[in-house]
């Protein structure tokens, strides 16, 4: 094993952004015919490290050896010529072009679409991809788009593949398909690096695990010699518990009743189709579904940000009085006395303002208070300080712009602000997306505390294991329709996975 030449060797890599050290003294070997999982908390420098390999950043110090020879990677082009390809978390595809057109985009030489399509089919057959070279990107599902991204790097001759959180957007079934393909590529002698936060994926897929903590390299080991608990401890640097609590519902009473909700987007595409359900107080209602199945529209409709074509959303107060929420904007809902908190999917694009500091972000919810024309900064400042202390937000100060914080800390700031108003209803969309284990558990705890306080929680999640562990009930959406509502304590993963892809879980559409 020691005699093999590493496909990639990183030696003493250092990268700083201003005063922030993203990577320091990183030594890492990547071998051919092996799948390596790169683990680490948010902000531990995984993506930065891989970006240096793929030519997006240039290291401040250190050396990179490719197949034993020292190389300098100045640009993504250099990376490609060395056979390194990266599939980013956010796809970089042109919607109106076909798969083939996207794949050959930017390549030198004569344009020969037919030949390219043939070569793409060849690659697909070899590894078991399912992709139609002539399909337009906008007609594709998330998983198909990802396939195009992977084929794109293979087409360019990559034999070192880096995948940054590839499963975040996939269903369990799609994830399995992807893993099968990755195993085929491994057997073909390619070196594969996968960045992920999901422990069970690490265990089922990878051969070796490398752990980063706070930008430095902690160690690596064979996957078969370790377990989730040990890996997590290595990542965090201390022992953490991996169980999500599920307290019994507290005095559940209907709080949000959605009836026959139908929503079309700006282009007239049906996003939600006759959706009905009830969310109870003191309970967590999990919402499962492939991304783009109407979860976003559903939450935004409840929060007063989305118009509906038909249906009703009523808020049931403690004395049984019903108020219609549909057709009201967030301000009106607030003025009605409905305390509704919303942790949206796009934290920095919707929930927070990246360029503003913590105090000013706290102010978003409270700035209207009082009749003076001047805004009160004293109480948001206090709230910011409280959130930083209570939720252990890592930040230089409360006057730091939130975009400078790491993903987990950004989320803590947002959740902290949203629960500070003592809500009756809490909507969360992908509350732990991109968060490391430690931050994720902090967020689960906070959500559970809200549940115990009698809040009706609607929890849109992507990790089925988590949904099954935390939810009292799970509503499964499929293509905008309610595919089923199951009991979180009894449901199993396969059943929910089936419901996510076919309404009612049946094989006939």
């Amino acid at each position: 094993m020691e005699n093999r030449i590493a496909a990639v060797s990183l030696r003493n890599i250092k990268k700083t952004f201003g005063s922030v050290v993203a990577n320091e003294n990183v030594n890492l070997d990547i071998y051919k015919g092996e799948i390596l999982s790169l683990l680490g908390e948010n902000g531990s420098g995984k993506t930065t490290l891989m970006n240096m390999l793929s030519g997006i950043y240039y290291p401040d110090e250190g050396q990179i050896f490719i197949n034993g020879k020292e190389e300098v990677i100045r640009s993504p082009k250099d990376a490609f010529s060395l056979g390194i390809g990266m599939v980013h978390q956010h796809f970089k595809l042109v919607d109106v072009l076909t798969a083939t057109e996207n794949i050959i985009l930017g390549l030198p030489g004569k344009l020969n679409l037919k030949e390219a399509a043939g070569k793409i089919r060849e690659i697909c057959d070899k590894y078991g991809f399912e992709v139609d070279p002539d399909q337009k990107i906008y007609n594709m599902s998330v998983s198909q788009k990802q396939t195009v991204e992977i084929v794109k790097v293979l087409y360019r001759g990559a034999d070192i593949l880096i995948l940054d959180e590839p499963t975040a957007v996939l269903t369990p079934q799609e994830t399995e398909k992807l893993f099968a393909v990755l195993r085929n590529m491994k057997n073909d002698g390619k070196a594969i690096v996968i960045i992920t936060h999901k422990m069970h994926e690490v265990e089922s897929l990878s051969d070796r695990v490398a752990v980063l903590r706070k930008g430095t390299y902690v160690g690596d080991m064979l996957t078969k010699d370790t377990n989730a608990q040990e890996m997590t401890n290595m990542m965090v640097g201390r022992s953490v518990s991996l169980n999500i609590e599920r307290p019994d519902p507290v005095d559940p009473k209907p709080r949000i009743a959605v009836r026959g909700l139908t929503i079309r987007d700006g282009e007239g595409i049906l996003k939600l189709d006759d959706v009905s359900f009830t969310a109870n107080s003191g309970e967590i209602l999990g919402i499962a579904g492939i991304s783009g199945c109407g979860q976003k529209e559903l939450l935004e409709a409840i929060a007063g940000l989305q118009d509906a074509e038909a249906g009703s959303i009523s808020y049931v107060s403690d004395d049984g009085h019903k108020e219609e929420l549909l057709g009201k904007d967030p301000l009106k809902i607030q003025e009605m006395g409905v305390t509704l908190s919303f942790v949206p999917e796009d934290r920095l694009g919707m929930g927070l303002v990246g360029n503003m500091d913590l105090t000013d972000n706290m102010m978003l919810r409270s700035f209207r208070k009082g009749s003076s024309m001047f805004a009160d900064r004293k109480s948001p400042e206090k709230l910011a300080n409280d959130v930083v202390t209570d939720l252990e937000v890592v930040t230089p100060s409360i006057s730091t712009p939130v975009r400078r914080l790491s993903g987990g800390n950004v989320q803590k700031v947002l959740v902290g602000r949203e629960i500070a108003s003592a809500p009756k209803v809490l909507l969360t969309a992908y509350a732990v997306r991109g968060l490391d284990i430690n931050s994720s558990y902090t967020i689960y705890d906070l959500i559970n505390q809200q549940k115990k306080a009698g809040v009706a929680v609607i929890f849109v999640g992507e990790d089925l294991d988590v949904l099954l562990e935390i939810s009292d009930k799970i509503l499964v959406l499929c293509g905008g329709k309610v595919s089923g509502i199951v009991d979180g304590r009894k449901a199993d993963k396969n059943q929910v996975g089936m419901l996510m892809t076919k309404v009612g879980g049946e094989s006939n559409e």
Partner: protein, 368 residues
């Protein structure tokens, strides 16, 4: 290509994180110094004149006599008011490049009041109506593109720009209507005998300076401490976040553009009622556009804007002085202004980014 050597890039650019304000100002000072040196070299090469006497002349042009100093400050005030007017719109990421038109239409409204009301109502009432009319005219000129943007999401850069041409043509039309004497193509001094509608405080320069001072302080407080100012920042940063917390984005856009336009109208009032007592199509002299640069240079901070507008006015006045004193072409002063602005704007790059040069390969090997 030498393949034995590691081909490191010559330099790479890194974003700075914490750069103290003090060091930033040192960089800016060095930039101005460098700009002056380059100007000196260019001057000597092109004209053979002593650069120091040219600098002295620039300074004399702006501050040489009490009268020149007053005029410098008066020009500064007008440019500052227009820059401050554009600032809330820019903070909201609404690219109002229609300052020119909003100033002109405010000026037109003032002139219209002076001409049509002169013998109908008492002087104080004329002035009150002038103020109201010019503010409203500017506000409407600002509101039209804002409403178009709010209703149909039209591009404000185009619509504000188009509104400039409409304003210019309107002024051109009314100049012909009000022509004095007939056939001259100008309005001449309005109410030259009665001085109706002439607004003055103390000497004839002071009014604009006082107004500019008040607007600066007011805008600083409005943007940094008021609820409206906060809404403007949030809408500018992210409309979706603004909607998410229940802000009425369209209302904020329209309200802010009314303010922006009204302040430009105020500058128009000062130009006609306070300074020129006449109206021409070029009365604002491109300051609606210069103000865009002033506002950006100051990073939308009203206090800093005092200095950036002073710099621009100082350079402009000094430059026209050297062209007369040395018998140089006016274009030469533009060249100097260009060089100085290039350095000032360029130095911001070095404040935001750091350039790391390649270390020698040897040195790297020793470290390993």
């Amino acid at each position: 290509m030498n393949n034995d050597k590691v081909r490191e890039p010559l330099f790479h650019i890194v974003k700075r994180d914490n750069f103290s304000t003090k060091r930033a100002w040192i960089v800016r000072a060095v930039a101005i110094l460098l700009a002056l040196i380059v100007c000196a070299i260019v001057t000597m090469l092109l004209t053979g004149d002593n650069p120091f006497s040219i600098y002295a002349t620039i300074f004399k042009g702006a501050f040489g006599t009490p009268r020149k100093t007053w005029i410098t400050f008066q020009n500064l005030s007008i440019l500052l008011i227009i820059s401050l007017a554009l600032t809330p719109a820019f903070k909201m990421r609404f690219w109002n490049i229609g300052g020119e038109g909003q100033v002109l239409i405010g000026a037109l409204a003032s002139a219209a009041c002076m001409i049509t009301l002169a013998d109908k109502v008492p002087n104080w009432l004329v002035i009150v109506i002038m103020i109201a009319a010019s503010l409203c005219a500017g506000a409407i000129w600002g509101l039209i593109p804002a409403a178009l943007k709010a209703k149909w999401n039209t591009n404000e850069t185009l619509s504000t720009l188009m509104m400039n041409y409409i304003a210019t043509q309107l002024v051109a039309y009314f100049i012909i209507v009000w022509e004095v004497p007939k056939g001259s193509g100008t309005v001449g001094m309005i109410n030259a005998n009665t001085n109706i509608g002439w607004i003055q405080v103390g000497n004839k320069y002071l009014l604009s300076i006082i107004v500019a001072l008040l607007v600066t302080i007011g805008m600083y407080i409005y943007l940094n401490y008021s609820k409206h100012g906060y809404e403007i920042s949030v809408v500018g940063e992210s409309e979706r976040t603004a909607r998410y917390v229940g802000m009425k984005v369209k209302k904020v856009i329209m309200r802010t553009m009314i303010l922006s336009g009204a302040l430009c109208g105020l500058a128009g009032l000062l130009l006609v009622g306070g300074i020129n007592h006449t109206i021409t199509t070029t009365i604002s002299g491109g300051q609606g556009f210069t103000a865009v640069m002033v506002s950006w240079l100051a990073k939308f901070n009203p206090i800093t804007m005092v200095f950036t507008s002073l710099l621009i006015v100082f350079l402009g006045r000094g430059a026209s002085e050297i062209s007369t004193a040395f018998g140089l072409n006016q274009s030469f002063s533009d060249i100097l202004t260009g060089i100085i602005l290039f350095f000032i704007i360029g130095c911001e790059f070095f404040i935001t980014y750091k350039v790391n040069f390649r270390k020698s390969v040897k040195e790297d090997k020793e470290n390993v």
